[in-house]
């Protein structure tokens, strides 16, 4: 009995051991290092590109990207998800990460984004601008107010003095994009960068009041990082000239 228990214990330890190797301690093989970057859903395309460029410039580094609603990402980090860098779509979500001491140093703004009215290709409900979103016959999908794009949408509504009654409040900006691009909803409010990234499936309409709801995107290295030097290098890379160029091409404004 005892011998068998020992065997079970040994197996458990072995399994636990796998976990730590996977976690990426760089003692065994300093060449292969994985940098985990958590980024807001609206950064999907730009960070995929930046990740590839960073890998190309740094031998033996592979960048693993996790995308989601900013508040979702912070919740995952609070629950102990291992990551090296965090980039959120607004300051509120980053502040909650800072308050939980998840962040190493001060977050730095690296881009800005504004909202645009989004309709499916062909604009079936004939939406001409922000005020049309308040029309009762227009099915509007927004982000939930706890998500940065939802908070921005709320500020925009207040600035324009309209009251939009969405048919759904989605968890992330990409969910809104999906519901509008598929034609399920007539219109939505998403970032101008999402409209550019979605191509022909959607049409974006500029909003004059957009300046009242500018989202500033902060980035920071995380305190729990196994590769603080690499994390800092990635942050500098995003803030640097190359990052600036990729972000500008996708429609992001300067910080």
């Amino acid at each position: 009995m005892r011998a068998r228990l020992t065997a079970v214990a040994a197996m458990t330890l072995a399994l636990a051991g796998c976990g730590t190797i996977d976690g990426g301690s760089d003692t065994a093989d300093a060449e292969e290092r994985t940098l985990t970057v958590y980024a807001a859903a609206s950064l999907t395309q730009t960070f995929e590109e930046l990740g590839e460029q960073f890998e190309a410039e740094n031998d033996g580094v592979s960048v693993q990207l996790g995308f989601g609603g900013s508040s979702d990402l912070v919740a995952q980090l609070q629950a102990g998800a291992p990551a090296d860098v965090l980039a959120t779509a607004d300051e509120t979500t980053m502040t909650s990460a800072v308050d939980d001491r998840l962040v190493d140093g001060d977050p730095e703004p690296f881009a800005t984004n504004v909202l645009q009215v989004l309709t499916p290709a062909g604009n079936p409900a004939d939406v001409q601008g922000l005020s049309d979103l308040a029309r009762p016959d227009v099915q509007v999908v927004l982000c939930a107010p706890v998500v940065p794009c939802g908070a921005a949408a709320q500020r925009l509504e207040e600035a324009a003095g309209i009251d939009v009654r969405p048919v759904s409040e989605e968890q992330s900006v990409t969910d809104v994009l999906g519901k509008v691009a598929s034609g399920e909803a007539d219109a939505g409010l998403v970032y101008v960068t999402d409209v550019l990234g979605a191509g022909d499936a959607v049409v974006g309409i500029d909003v004059p009041e957009a300046d009242t709801a500018v989202n500033s995107y902060p980035i920071a290295a995380l305190a729990g990082s196994d590769h603080p030097d690499l994390a800092a290098a990635f942050v500098a890379f995003v803030l640097g000239e190359q990052g600036r160029r990729v972000l500008a091409e996708a429609g992001f404004g300067p910080p």
Binding site: V146, S168, A185
Partner: protein, 263 residues
């Protein structure tokens, strides 16, 4: 009942205990994590109440729909013999093994505005996307197999002896169904209905994909938990415990029902 240990290798007790703990410990973790001083306030907040009420309403509607749709199907599967029967049975069970999000996408391309039936429905003035109806459809899609499977099993176990006797005594098939078959399998039907209610109550993936998320209309309890998790973990935990309690009640109800059936 006296505890007995039958014939099996004693060392199996160790992995058996491990697997029991594997289920018990996470549930215990939820209970330990609950902020009891705030519990009442958290589960009675307006958004929680709206979500709970919506969940109970939609899950009840789903259960009714499952009974209406599931009983005929279970009867046909249990009593008829036809080509493609096993194929039909596999098809009915598919939503049970399918990831719910896939079910949501399938429903979207069926009942969505640009879906297979969506345009015809829209002509009739029916819009399903983003409505409470969408929630019920999503729940029914995933819950129906539970009722069909459970009832078909009961029908097979019950056998057809009494039905044949009733028929030889001159009862029409409809009378046999109403007076003999259904009363005979009622416990199985009740168990199946409770199980589909429980499955409907827990539905998440198909709902968020197909119905969206809006307080009071489509944001059921699991969707509310998912949203709260990001901003108010305490509320998410409190609501999770609420669903655990409901699940325990459901299991007790099914087991009580099965025990009566066994008498």
């Amino acid at each position: 009942m006296r505890d007995t240990v039958g014939t099996f290798p004693r060392w199996l007790l160790v992995p058996a205990a491990t697997s029991a703990l594997f289920i018990a410990v996470p549930l215990l973790a939820i209970v330990l994590r609950v902020d009891w001083s705030q519990f009442g306030a958290l589960v009675t907040s307006p958004s929680s109440q709206a979500a709970l009420w919506l969940s109970l309403r939609t899950a009840s509607a789903t259960t009714v729909l499952c009974v209406l749709l599931g009983v005929p199907l279970a009867l046909v599967l249990a009593r008829a013999r036809f080509r493609g029967q096993s194929l039909l049975r596999s098809l009915v069970l598919l939503p049970m093994v399918l990831p719910p999000v896939v079910g949501g996408i399938a429903l979207l391309y069926t009942f969505g505005r640009r879906g297979l039936l969506g345009e015809s429905l829209e002509v009739l003035g029916l819009q399903i996307a983003f409505s409470t109806t969408a929630v019920v459809l999503a729940q029914t899609f995933v819950a129906l197999p539970f009722l069909v499977l459970s009832l078909e099993g009961t029908l097979r176990t019950a056998g057809q002896r009494y039905e044949r006797v009733a028929a030889t005594l001159g009862a029409t098939p409809t009378t046999v169904l109403r007076r003999v078959t259904l009363p005979l399998v009622l416990p199985g039907l009740v168990s199946g209905a409770i199980l589909s209610f429980a499955r409907a109550l827990g539905e998440f993936g198909a709902t968020i994909t197909f119905a969206g998320s809006l307080q009071g209309t489509t944001r059921t309890l699991p969707l509310e938990i998912y949203l709260q998790r990001e901003t108010d973990p305490d509320a998410a935990v409190a609501l999770s415990l609420l669903l655990v309690v409901v699940a325990v009640v459901v299991i007790l109800a099914v087991r009580g029902n099965d025990a009566r059936q066994a008498l």
